[in-house]
C-alpha cells in the first residue's frame, strides 16, 4: 500500500465521524429551513418554500425580534460585567501572596457547576417564599422582602444576567491572571521609574500588553452568551412572558415544543450570522498568536 493511500485511510474514521455528527446535521438543518417542516403533520418535511421561513421570521414575527433584543442586551451585559469584574479580580489576585493558589482553587468552583444546575439553584435562591435572597433582602431592606424576583420582567432578566456572570467570572479571572502574569514585570517597573503612577501604568503598559488575551476572552464570552440556553431554561424558562427568551430558547420552543422544525431551523441559521463573525475573529486572534 502506498504511503499516500494509507495516510487517507488513517484519517478516514475521523472524517466520517465529523461528517456524521457535525456536517450532515448542518446540511440537514439548512435543508429543513427551506421547507414547511412541521413535525406535527404528516409528510415531513412537507413542501419546499425557499427562504420563506427566513423572511417570515424577520418580517412577521415580533417574538423573533423580541428574542434578538433579549439576546443582544443579555450578551452585552454579561460580557461587559463578566470581563470587567474578572479583570478587577485578576488584578487583585496577581501580585498576591501565598494564599493565591488556594483562592484560585476555590474560585474555579462556580465554573465547575453545570449551567443547568446554576439555573436551578438560582431559582431556589430567588424563590419569594423560602429563597435565600428574599430572606437576605428582607432583613437588610424590608420593603424589598416581598418582591417576587422572577415574576417581574426586568428583575427576572437581571437575575439571569447575574447567574451567568456569577458562573463565568472564575474562568475568565483565571485566564486573565495568566495573561497578567505574562506581562513582563520589568516593563511595569520601567514605567514606574519613568514617572507613571498606578493608573497610568495600568492604562499605558499593562492593558495594551493584555489586549490580545482580553480580546480572546471577550470574543469567547460573547459566543457563549449568544447561545445561552440551559441556564435560562432552568431559571425562568424564557418568562415571565418572553422577557428572558433568548434566541436559543426561541429556537427550542418553536422547533421541539411547537413542532415547527423548518421555522426553528431557519432562526438557528440566522443565529449563525453573528457567530461566524465572532468565530472568525477568535480563530484569527488565536492562530495568529500560535504562529508567532
Amino acid at each position: 500500500m502506498r504511503d499516500n493511500t494509507l495516510k487517507y485511510l488513517l484519517v478516514m474514521p475521523a472524517v466520517v465521524i465529523v461528517f456524521a455528527t457535525a456536517i450532515w446535521p448542518l446540511i440537514q438543518s439548512f435543508r429543513y429551513s427551506l421547507f414547511q417542516g412541521r413535525l406535527t403533520r404528516p409528510g415531513f418535511p412537507q413542501g419546499y418554500i425557499g427562504f420563506e421561513n427566513y423572511t417570515w421570521a424577520v418580517s412577521q414575527e415580533p417574538a423573533f425580534w423580541n428574542s434578538v433584543i433579549v439576546t443582544g442586551v443579555y450578551t452585552l451585559l454579561t460580557v461587559a460585567l463578566t470581563v470587567l469584574l474578572s479583570l478587577g479580580l485578576a488584578l487583585l489576585l496577581v501580585p498576591g501572596g501565598r494564599f493565591r493558589m488556594s483562592i484560585q482553587t476555590i474560585l474555579i468552583l462556580p465554573f465547575a457547576m453545570s449551567p443547568a444546575l446554576i439555573g436551578v439553584s438560582f431559582r431556589f435562591m430567588f424563590n419569594p417564599e423560602f429563597g435565600l435572597f428574599d430572606a437576605f433582602f428582607g432583613l437588610l431592606i424590608p420593603p424589598l422582602a416581598d418582591i417576587s424576583w422572577l415574576s417581574d420582567p426586568i428583575l427576572a432578566f437581571a437575575v439571569c444576567v447575574m447567574a451567568d456572570v456569577w458562573g463565568w467570572i472564575p474562568f475568565l479571572t483565571l485566564v486573565l491572571i495568566g495573561g497578567l502574569a505574562a506581562v513582563p514585570s520589568e516593563t511595569i517597573e520601567a514605567a514606574q521609574v519613568d514617572g507613571a503612577g498606578g493608573w497610568q501604568v495600568f492604562r499605558d503598559i499593562t492593558l495594551p500588553q493584555l489586549a490580545p488575551v482580553l480580546a480572546v476572552v471577550i470574543i469567547l464570552k460573547s459566543i457563549f452568551s449568544l447561545k445561552t440556553f440551559d441556564q435560562v431554561y432552568m431559571l425562568t424558562n424564557g418568562g415571565p412572558g418572553t422577557a428572558t427568551q433568548t434566541l436559543s430558547h426561541y429556537v427550542y420552543f418553536n422547533g421541539l415544543k411547537y413542532g415547527q422544525l423548518g421555522y426553528a431551523a431557519s432562526v438557528a441559521w440566522l443565529m449563525v450570522i453573528p457567530m461566524i463573525f465572532l468565530t472568525y475573529a477568535y480563530a484569527k486572534l488565536v492562530f495568529r498568536k500560535a504562529q508567532q
Binding site: P184, E186, E189, D194, A196, G197
Partner: protein, 353 residues
C-alpha cells in the same frame, strides 16, 4: 544631578537577609559600580534606590531629600534594566518619549526634538518607527539607554545592562557607555557581576558579598590593594593564587616547606599568601629557592597560562606567549614581595604591616 546616600540600609525577606546594614555615600556625578556574585544584594541595593523595593530598615537619600516614602515616579531617577524593560506595544520613538509625556516635564512641542537628540546620542535615529521586537539586542539596549537619558534625571541606575549582549557587542557597548557617562556627567549606580565592566567603567567600585560591601575603592585600589580574601579572589582573571602556609622568621613558608618570599609580618602559624598569576616570574631551575612542576600549559594566544604543582597546591601563572613549556617540566619561580598579599585564613582579613 545629586549625590545618593544610603544610611544603614537593611533588606530582609523573612529570615533571608539580602542587604545587611549597609551604608554608602555616592558623590554627585560619580560613576559607582556595585560588583559581586549573584545573590550578593547588589541589585536589591539598586532597587531600593529606585524605590522598587522598600528597605526594611535604614534611609535612602537622593540629594537633600529622604526618599524612603516616595514612589519610584517621584524620585526622579532613570533606570536601565537587564532585559531592557522596553514597552513592546510602542514604537522606539514612543518608548523614548514616554518619560517626557508622563512627567509633562517638557512642553509637548519639544518632545520630538528631545527624543531625536537622545536617539542620536545612541545612534538610533533610523529606527525610531520600529517596534522593539524588530530590533537586535544591542539596538534594544540603546533604546533603553535613550529612554534613560532623554530627560535629565538626578541619577542613572543600571542593572546589568550589558549582560544579555554577546561578548563582542558587550565590549563595544561598554566603550559607548563610558563615553556617554563622560559626556552626561550624571551620578550613576551600575550593577554588574562582570569585573572587567566594573574595572573599566567605575570611578569607584563597591565589591559586595552576602549583603555587605566588602571593599569600596577605586579600580586601582580594588585590584592592587585588596582588603580581604573575597575581594582578592573575586577580582582578576585568572583569580589570584591563594597559597596556604605560615610565616616563619619574616618568610612565608608553604605547607610543603618551600620558602616563597620575604614578608615583614611577624610569625604566624597559619596564613594565606595571595599573588596574582602575572606577578609570578618563571626562572631557571635552581636560581631561586622555589621550584614547581608544570601540570598544564595553555596557550591563549595572548600569553601562556601555566598551572603549576607547588607542593600539595596548584597555582596559576601567566607568562610570555613565546615561552614553551612541556608537561612535568620542573621550573624555578620568583615571587616579588611587593606584589604579594598576606591574609588571615579564618576571617579572610588582610594582614598589613
Amino acid at each position: 544631578m545629586a549625590s545618593i546616600r544610603l544610611k544603614n540600609i537593611t533588606k530582609r525577606w523573612g529570615d533571608f537577609v539580602a542587604v545587611d546594614n549597609q551604608s554608602l555615600d555616592i558623590e554627585d556625578q560619580e560613576f559607582l559600580v556595585l560588583l559581586g556574585p549573584s545573590g550578593c544584594g547588589k541589585t536589591t541595593t539598586m532597587r531600593m534606590i529606585a524605590g522598587l523595593e522598600e528597605p526594611t530598615e535604614g534611609e535612602v537619600w537622593i540629594g537633600d531629600r529622604m526618599v524612603n516614602d516616595e514612589l519610584p515616579k517621584d524620585r526622579d531617577v532613570a533606570m536601565v534594566f537587564q532585559n531592557y524593560g522596553l514597552y513592546p506595544h510602542m514604537s522606539v520613538f514612543d518608548n523614548i518619549a514616554y518619560p517626557l509625556k508622563i512627567r509633562k516635564s517638557a512642553p509637548k512641542a519639544r518632545i520630538p526634538e528631545l527624543v531625536r537628540k537622545a536617539a542620536d546620542r545612541v545612534e538610533l535615529l533610523q529606527f525610531l518607527e520600529r517596534r522593539p521586537r524588530e530590533l537586535s539586542g544591542g539596538q534594544r539596549q540603546r533604546v533603553a539607554l535613550a529612554r534613560a537619558i532623554v530627560r535629565e534625571p538626578q541619577a542613572f541606575l543600571m542593572d546589568e545592562p550589558l549582560s544579555n549582549l554577546d561578548a563582542k557587542l558587550r565590549v563595544t557597548m561598554r566603550a559607548e557607555l563610558k563615553h556617554l557617562s563622560h559626556e552626561l556627567q550624571i551620578t550613576t549606580v551600575y550593577v554588574t557581576h562582570d569585573q572587567i565592566e566594573a574595572m573599566t567603567l567605575a570611578d569607584r567600585i563597591g565589591v559586595m558579598n552576602d549583603g555587605r560591601i566588602r571593599q569600596l575603592g577605586t579600580p586601582d585600589e580594588i585590584y592592587n590593594d585588596p582588603a580581604n580574601i573575597f575581594v582578592a579572589d573575586f577580582i582578576g582573571s585568572p583569580s589570584m593564587n591563594l597559597i596556604q602556609g605560615a610565616v616563619d622568621r619574616n618568610c612565608f613558608v608553604t605547607a610543603g616547606g618551600q620558602q616563597l618570599t620575604e614578608t615583614p609580618a611577624s610569625d604566624l602559624d597559619r596564613a594565606v599568601l595571595g599573588v596574582r598569576a602575572e606577578d609570578i616570574a618563571v626562572v631557571r631551575l635552581g636560581s631561586t629557592d622555589v621550584d614547581a612542576r608544570v601540570y598544564a600549559a595553555e596557550n591563549t594566544g595572548e600569553n601562556v597560562v601555566l598551572t603549576l604543582q607547588l607542593g600539595e597546591q596548584r597555582i596559576t601563572c601567566k607568562e610570555d606567549r613565546y615561552l614553551k613549556f612541556s608537561i612535568n617540566e620542573r621550573i624555578g619561580l620568583r615571587f616579588d614581595s611587593s606584589k604579594t598579599y598576606l591574609f588571615e585564613p579564618d576571617s579572610g582579613a588582610r594582614i598589613r604591616q
